[in-house]
């Protein structure tokens, strides 16, 4: 009996065991499946991540290669100078090629730009880099470098200076463009302009002189209409000579051959000469042209032709942009503030310079819309040349203007000029 009971218990226990083991088995299988799935997912994720990394590396390599190729084709290199972490400073491969240097592990320091500068450009480059290293914001300048092979190359540097607000440390990033070819083309163009202008001058001068002879007292009398026509021929040829002179001076500035011939001369005599040349154009428009001089003005020791060109430009502009019956005043005096300077003021009652155009008027080829409307055939070169010459003479030029009322130009130049032609401003 007992045995039977025990057997039943054992059987029941076995049944219970069997019943209890099943969920465990299910759970175990489930865990196994989950683990297997997890491993699978992890492996897939890893494989995918590896593929992604490989793809990114490939893409990075492609971009780097393309950038390198683009820099090579476009003749420009890129650079970064990071003063917070020098490790982040870098030069692209093309930068080394541009500067004729072998690529090296340690990025060349900022002084390399200066060390390789052409001796004539060194001071300008030093000035520019000092500015770049102290002033956050965009920058651009051009200069010549001398490669270790002695080859001279023109480069244009353009970039941006960033400043960390907290540490005040800088990061300078930018590109350097090889502009040697462009400069050569520009030079050839300037040489052509110079040559063509010289050739044009001779026949135009003949036309001007012959018309002047016809208008002189003592020549055979001409009718009133003929006289008017001859006067027009004279004024037009004079205008053309001024335009040719502007072109020639621009080409000289750009070729770096605008040199000075310093002579001593009487300012009054020179300005009277300009008056004589311009009186007819002024009279034609019934303009009053008043010129006053301080007593006892010392002679100028300057480049006569360049000074003449400055005053001639200002007076002929005043005549051109002043409507009929207007007034033009030119006052020549010794500067009040600095007795070493000659001061010339040219005031007109002309069309004036619109406010929004004022910052552009000394730019090459720029002409204000109201000036273009009144005189369509101007070159936009005159004031650019005037400013360049005055700056070369270490003088200054400024103006005041009111649209529809007139303009006053103020020019000051030293009584004694020195030709300190160094690096052309055109490079910067």
């Amino acid at each position: 009996m007992v045995e039977q009971v025990l057997q039943v218990v054992a059987q029941s226990y076995q049944q219970v065991q069997t019943i209890a083991a099943f969920p465990l088995l299910i759970a175990g299988v489930f865990v196994l499946i989950v683990v297997a799935l997890g491993v699978y997912v992890a492996i897939v994720a890893r494989v995918r991540a590896d593929a992604r990394v490989a793809h990114l590396v490939k893409a990075y390599d492609t971009v780097t290669k393309e950038l390198r190729e683009a820099q090579k084709i476009g003749h420009f290199g890129s650079f970064v100078f990071d003063f917070r972490d020098l490790e982040l400073s870098s030069w692209s491969e093309e930068m080394y090629r541009l500067y004729g240097l072998m690529p090296r592990e340690k990025t060349p320091d900022i002084h390399t730009f200066l060390r390789l500068a052409h001796p004539q450009d060194e001071s300008v480059v030093r000035e520019m880099w000092t500015h770049v290293c102290t002033t956050p914001g965009p920058f651009a300048f051009s200069y010549r470098i001398v490669l270790p092979t002695k080859q001279v190359r023109y480069v244009h540097v353009e970039g941006n200076t960033l400043m960390d607000v907290e540490t005040k440390q800088l990061r300078i990033e930018g590109v350097v463009h090889d502009i040697t070819k462009e400069m050569e083309i520009d030079r050839a163009k300037s040489e052509f302009v110079s040559l063509a202008s010289h050739q044009l001058k001779t026949p135009i001068t003949s036309i001007k002189w012959l018309s002047e002879v016809l208008l002189r007292k003592g020549s055979e009398p001409v009718t009133q209409v003929q006289e008017k026509y001859i006067s027009n021929i004279h004024d037009s040829s004079q205008h053309m000579i001024e335009m040719i002179n502007d072109l020639l001076n621009v080409s000289r500035i750009e070729l770096g051959t605008l040199s000075m011939k310093i002579d001593e001369f009487d300012v009054k005599e020179l300005i009277e000469n300009i008056r004589e040349e311009q009186w007819h154009a002024a009279e034609e428009k019934h303009l009053t042209l008043n010129i006053t001089y301080d007593d006892g003005l010392p002679h100028l020791v300057a480049d006569r032709n360049l000074f003449r060109m400055v005053i001639q430009n200002l007076i002929s502009n005043a005549i051109r942009y002043t409507p009929a019956n207007g007034t033009i005043e030119c006052a020549v005096s010794r500067a009040q503030t600095d007795k070493e300077f000659l001061f010339v003021r040219v005031t007109d009652s002309g069309i004036g310079i619109p406010k929004e155009e004022r910052k552009h008027i000394f730019e090459k080829l720029y002409r204000a819309p109201n000036a273009q409307t009144l005189v369509p055939d101007g070159t936009g070169l005159g004031l650019y040349v005037v400013k360049t010459v005055i700056e070369r003479a270490h003088g200054g030029i400024s103006f005041e203007s009111e649209e529809g009322k007139g303009t006053t130009f103020y020019v000051s130049v030293p009584f004694v000029w020195h030709d300190t032609a160094g690096v052309e401003k055109a490079h910067s």
């Binding site: 001068t205 036309i207 002189r216």
Partner: protein, 129 residues
């Protein structure tokens, strides 16, 4: 200008229209005008006629204006002849070379008028010149 009537001016200029303009204006002022169209002819006429003032263009055929002045300065009379250079060549080299040859007066043609040329001649003839 009655006292200038006897004064002789030699214009050495190859550009016909320019020579015509200068010559006519000077004649109107009462000068006797001699003309030459190249450097060789200019030198020959100068040495033969001894004009009181020479107006010499720098860019001339056969012999340049500068070479003509050089040759002129070799001559006993030509050494002190009054020369005014007329040119459109405003390069410093040519003008400095002119200074070396004692020619102190020059006019850039396109920047000058016929009146300037006449004034330059009169200045050369003034007693202090």
């Amino acid at each position: 200008m009655t006292d200038t009537k006897k004064h002789t001016v030699l214009v050495v200029e190859d550009e016909m229209a320019t020579a015509l303009a200068m010559g006519s204006a000077l004649e109107q002022e009462g000068y006797e005008v001699l003309r030459a169209a190249d450097g060789e002819e200019g030198l020959r006429v100068a040495l033969e006629k001894h004009p009181e003032v020479l107006l010499v263009d720098l860019k001339l055929p056969k012999m340049s204006g500068m070479d003509m002045i050089h040759a002129l300065r070799e001559d006993a009379w030509g050494k002190t002849a009054r020369v005014v250079i007329l040119t459109n060549v405003s390069d410093m080299g040519s003008l400095q070379a002119a200074m070396m040859n004692d020619t102190f007066y020059y006019l850039i043609k396109s920047d000058s008028s016929v009146a300037d040329v006449i004034r330059a001649v009169a200045t050369q003839l003034a007693p202090s010149a």
